[in-house]
Symmetry: C2
Subunit: 308 residues, 2 copies
């Protein structure tokens, strides 16, 4: 096991895009600031997706231009296409002083039906776009992170072949992605699935080039983290408070809560650099802004212990 | 890893004793019946604690006398003292036809403060009582299960010494308990803690004589199950729907939800004998009877998927 683990915060992007409320830009920046104060080393701050698709993130340019600079903290913004990349670059230019602390994130699903509904084209079409997009981002100085969605199961097709997931992940790495995050989009994975998929990837990809993006829809997220740690994975995605829910099962839990992840990693003696008390403060803010009780368990336990 | 895992259902006892509502006896029996229909092999049905302490379980005799007989299903009832054992034996006599399918469960905490507040005496006092109680139960034909509460952390004392927990667990086994269940009463354990405690016990106790009773207060329960499985543990306690909450942090989660446990075990190819669809039906009943949204994640995901 690695003694140091990178907690990759996706709440402001993957969380907020699935919340019913649309936050004011200032509130989003306050949340990013609280997460930065907690010591998170990676924060995915927004998405340059078309505002017609995800109105909650229409202020991607304003958020990006105002991201606070912190030593040891790097951001990412999702760019679904060439237009998104241009918007990100323009926002970074407006922010000024170089762009070394912001990465571009790209996404493709492992299942055809999900890619069609999410990105409006077949998987091959998205991969063909990424063949231009990833090198273009790198040429402009942006590191690129790739997501493989529905890496364990698809809301439309069920079980997903790990061989297909491994093939797509390798494709993204070959295109120049610094890291590929394997997404359990609907939260169906168990540790056996995690091991099966990593078993196909790790012989040919370094552990540092892979991340796990787990959802806690059936309570298995931290068990899957443990399986990932045991296989050598060093980066895990999570959303503060479990922000976001599951778009395919309204009312169910979605993203693994960052507080739960950090609680377990710290309890196991693994270094994250995150201050759990400050993270809980960020979770309390996220809950207030979301206007609903967030599903994160360590957050709720901490708030209950405070009588909050 | 063991290919077969025993899911030990504690919802009707450990769950209901921590719910605000008091269920009618008929509703409790309906819940037990639904759990039996789901194929659970072990159900802890009630507690012969003084009704003054836990009014919700004042009908322990009526519940016990009416427990349905099923092949492959064994029950347990908690007996805190000699008076509780006499009440259990009287209820079993009222049920008739032998008592081979009901065990007695006894409990002691690993931390002094918790034992004092829970059982009104020091740990040594409870152990002295159990020295008479366990053999007395066995002499009457009852198998005995022991619980060690606060086996990982105490709400009053914090961290608990695994050496002390191991000592008490060995004591219970030596007294004649067929199995000792190690309780993470406040849900603070991480996989490292589970391994540390089991590492002290397994060299001298067979894995089948130990069980893990995990709470999901900080989301770590299934990760701890995975650690337990990897160490050879074959029995895990859980409460349908996550019934019960955490008495030390109102609003936080308590018992690991049975649906989450069964979902993961089945996904890992481990045999439980439980029908997850029927278990979700029992969870839906538990939720209706408890009158609140239960925290079990697989339950909520299943209900959301059904539009329920």
């Amino acid at each position: 096991m690695t003694p140091r683990v990178t907690v990759y915060e996706v709440g402001p992007r993957d969380g907020l895009q699935n919340e019913a409320v649309t936050l004011a830009t200032g509130d989003k920046l306050a949340l990013v600031g609280a997460l930065a104060d907690a010591g998170l080393p990676r924060i995915e701050a927004t998405s340059f997706v078309s505002p017609r698709w995800i109105p909650q993130l229409a202020d991607a340019a304003e958020v990006t231009a105002a991201l606070p600079r912190r030593s040891g903290l790097a951001y990412a913004a999702l760019v679904p296409n060439a237009r998104g990349l241009e918007r990100l670059l323009a926002a970074l230019a407006a922010r000024g002083e170089g762009i070394a602390d912001v990465a571009a994130a790209v996404v493709v699903s492992a299942s055809e039906s999900h890619n069609l509904r999410n990105l409006n084209r077949p998987v091959a079409g998205t991969l063909a776009e990424l063949e231009a997009l990833v090198p273009a981002a790198r040429a402009r100085g942006l590191p690129v992170r790739g997501y493989v969605s529905t890496a364990f199961g698809c809301p439309y097709e069920g079980r997903v072949d790990p061989g297909r997931v491994a093939e797509i992940a390798h494709r993204l790495l070959a295109l120049g992605c610094a890291q590929v995050s394997l997404g359990d989009t609907i939260g169906v994975a168990t540790p056996r699935d995690v091991r099966a998929l990593l078993g196909r990837l790790l012989p040919s990809a370094p552990a540092a080039a892979l991340a796990l993006h787990l959802h806690d829809t059936r309570g298995t997220a931290l068990a899957n983290v443990l399986a990932g740690l045991e296989e050598g994975i060093e980066t895990f995605d999570a959303a503060v408070g479990g922000l976001g829910g599951c778009p395919y099962a309204p009312g169910a839990s979605g993203n693994l809560a960052t507080e739960d992840l950090v609680y377990m990693l710290q309890g196991m003696g693994l270094e994250t650099g995150v201050d759990l008390g400050r993270l809980v403060a960020a979770g309390a803010l996220a809950q207030r802004l979301a206007g609903r009780r967030l599903p994160g368990r360590a957050l709720q336990a901490a708030l209950a212990a405070r009588g909050g």
